[in-house]
């Protein structure tokens, strides 16, 4: 549905996007995650044609944005990170205004506006002034506005920033509903775990490059690899450390109070072998378990560009 190929964007001396590739399948709810300044907003603005890329291209439904922006715009609903609102305009008028920007007018536009306000739970606020709405309500209004022309693709830039947990929850419910309607949704965020429950796919961007892209299952599988093995030994600790440091799949070794935390890249099978090797070498192992990982630690690991820390641990 949405394909980004080798997208590059340079602002002066900052390389905001550095050959970014990305694929969003039709019907996916795609979580676009990255730390501050990773290039999420830049990517999104390029997709909707607000920024011109220095290289690469964006295809929506196989239509090139640079060549046929109008056709692409008709297919995309956009919710920016700062949702623009007007003074002296009521919620229903706000919807009507944007409907008219898409050439929709009259009863049809009003009905569609009403329907969308209902969908986001703002139907009782139709006569309120937009600037008087709370942040969460403005957010939902902005979502309703983006859907006014019934686009198959919805792109949202950090929509959950600044929302309380309850509003966040409601927002996710709306997203699920949209997915059930068959819309393709791209949603950016800093927080991977926040998207985990609802997203089908995840793309992690860092310093303008896609560092991980795959389905939710794939990233969950990475959790195990990402979190360390916790090995508890009694007595002959030095022996264990020697063996671990020499092991090809051991990446880091950290000594904690009771246990040794080992960054281990192997799978279950390799864990078995490691344990066997330790025991055979005469190490008394009384604990051998993977730390329960979470998404944030995966995220931190993927987007970690301080390799020095890892080296330090090796010296230890």
């Amino acid at each position: 549905m949405l394909r980004i190929e080798n997208l590059t964007k340079v602002f002066g001396r900052t390389v905001a996007l550095d050959g970014l590739n990305m694929t969003v399948e039709a019907g996916a709810l795609y979580g676009f995650v990255g730390p501050n300044g990773a290039g999420k907003t830049t990517t999104i603005k390029t997709v909707i044609g607000l920024l011109a890329p220095d290289d690469g291209r964006v295809l929506v439904n196989d239509i090139d944005v640079a060549k046929e922006p109008d056709r692409v715009m008709a297919r995309i609903g956009y919710v920016p990170d700062a949702f623009g609102v007007y003074d002296n305009l009521k919620v229903s008028e706000y919807m009507e205004f944007f409907a008219s920007c898409y050439g929709l007018a009259g009863l049809k536009a009003r009905k569609r506006g009403q329907m969308l306000l209902e969908q986001v739970g703002l139907d009782d606020k139709a006569d309120f002034y937009v600037e008087g709405l709370s942040r969460g309500m403005q957010q939902r209004l902005c979502l309703a506005r983006a859907l006014i022309h019934n686009p198959p693709v919805l792109i949202m830039d950090e929509p959950t920033a600044g929302l309380d947990p309850r509003t966040r929850y409601e927002f996710k419910e709306i997203l699920k509903e949209l997915r059930n309607q068959g819309k393709t949704v791209l949603i950016s965020s800093h927080i991977l775990s926040e998207l985990a429950e609802i997203c089908t796919d995840i793309g992690v961007i860092d310093q303008g490059r896609m560092v991980f892209e795959g389905s939710m299952e794939e990233i969950l599988a990475q959790i195990n690899v990402a979190s360390p093995l916790l090995i508890s030994v009694s007595g002959n600790r030095q022996k264990a450390l020697e063996l671990l440091r020499a092991h090809p799949e051991v990446e880091t070794v950290t000594i904690r109070e009771e246990e040794i935390a080992v960054g281990f890249s192997g799978d279950k099978r390799d864990e078995e072998t490691l344990l066997k090797q330790l025991v055979e070498a005469g190490v008394n192992v009384y604990g051998f378990v993977r730390e329960r990982g979470n998404l944030e630690s995966v995220f931190m690991q993927i987007t970690d560009h301080s390799g020095e820390e890892v080296v330090l641990l090796h010296e230890d």
Partner: protein
């Protein structure tokens, strides 16, 4: 007829704000006070000398129209300079640009919005302008031509304001830029003439050159003054600051048809400004030819 959505939205929101009534009130108050003071002094003169000079009645016309013209000069940039930069500051420009609206629709909507306010100002000043008919001596055609001059001036300054608004990131800068354009067009072209005259009349000079006069074609105030001169005879309105206009009849065709030619020039400039405004509003990712 499909009404430009931006114009519709703006006028709805505008109708709810205090800004528009305040502008109308301020504009007409200044105009009314000036006109009444003039009439008062005129009548005091009559009481004093017991003789009525018909020319002083005509003076009312030049006085009121000049005042209104000067007010327009100052109001129009203020009305348009924030139009597009304001949308940008409110982050709504990006939203509009991702709809089916084109940059040209947005600029057109903003221009119509600004001009409709100007139109409202002019129409609301009709009663004051009507004072000049009390004593006669002025025809409807005279007033009509004057209104045409107002409209052309507003289109020029409005377009310049929109261009500044589209080019500047912030509304404050856009406003400063719009007034700079105003100063350049009015005082700037005039200064060039004074300078050229000064150089021309120096001992080794060879008289005032003609070319600086053509610069005055861009000057809406010069157009206004020419029209007033043709209606009232020279010496009225802004004549003091435009002595050059006495010479324009010497420069052939352009001089003979000064006001239509200058209006054409100014509308052309307006078109260029609008074209620039559309270019500056259009997002970077659009309108590029595929490589």
């Amino acid at each position: 007829m499909r009404i430009n959505p931006i114009y519709r939205q703006e006028s709805r929101a505008g109708a709810r704000s205090f800004k528009l009534p305040l502008i109308i009130l301020g504009f007409n108050s200044v105009l009314a006070v000036v006109a009444l003071l003039y009439m008062d002094s005129m009548i005091a003169q009559v009481r004093l000398t017991a003789e009525i000079q018909y020319s002083s009645f005509l003076g009312l016309y030049s006085f009121v129209t000049t005042m209104e013209f000067v007010l327009l000069l100052f109001v129009v940039p203020a009305l348009t300079a924030g139009a597009i930069s304001g949308e940008r500051e409110r982050q709504t420009l990006d939203l509009m640009l991702t709809t089916r609206l084109k940059a040209s629709d947005i600029v057109a909507g903003k221009l119509v919005q600004g001009l409709s306010t100007v139109f409202l100002l002019i129409v609301s000043s009709f009663p004051i302008l009507g004072l000049v008919f009390i004593y006669g001596g002025v025809t409807m055609a005279d007033v009509g031509l004057m209104l045409l001059c107002y409209v052309v001036t507003s289109v020029l300054l409005g377009s310049a304001g929109l261009f500044c608004s589209a080019a500047a990131r912030r509304s404050t800068r856009a406003t400063v830029a719009a007034y700079s354009v105003l100063v350049l067009l009015t005082a700037g072209t005039l200064m060039v003439n004074y300078l050229a005259e000064g150089l021309g009349t120096m001992p080794q000079g060879n008289g005032a050159a003609d070319w600086p006069l053509y610069l005055l074609l861009c000057n809406p105030a010069a157009t206004f003054q020419t029209i007033l001169n043709s209606q009232m005879g020279s010496g009225s309105g802004l004549t003091v600051i435009f002595p050059q206009l006495e010479r324009i009849t010497e420069i052939g065709f352009v001089g003979r048809y000064w006001w239509p030619v200058s209006m054409a020039v100014q509308l052309l400039m307006a078109a260029v400004f609008l074209w620039g405004a559309v270019r500056k509003t259009r997002p970077a990712g659009r309108g590029r030819r595929p490589r």
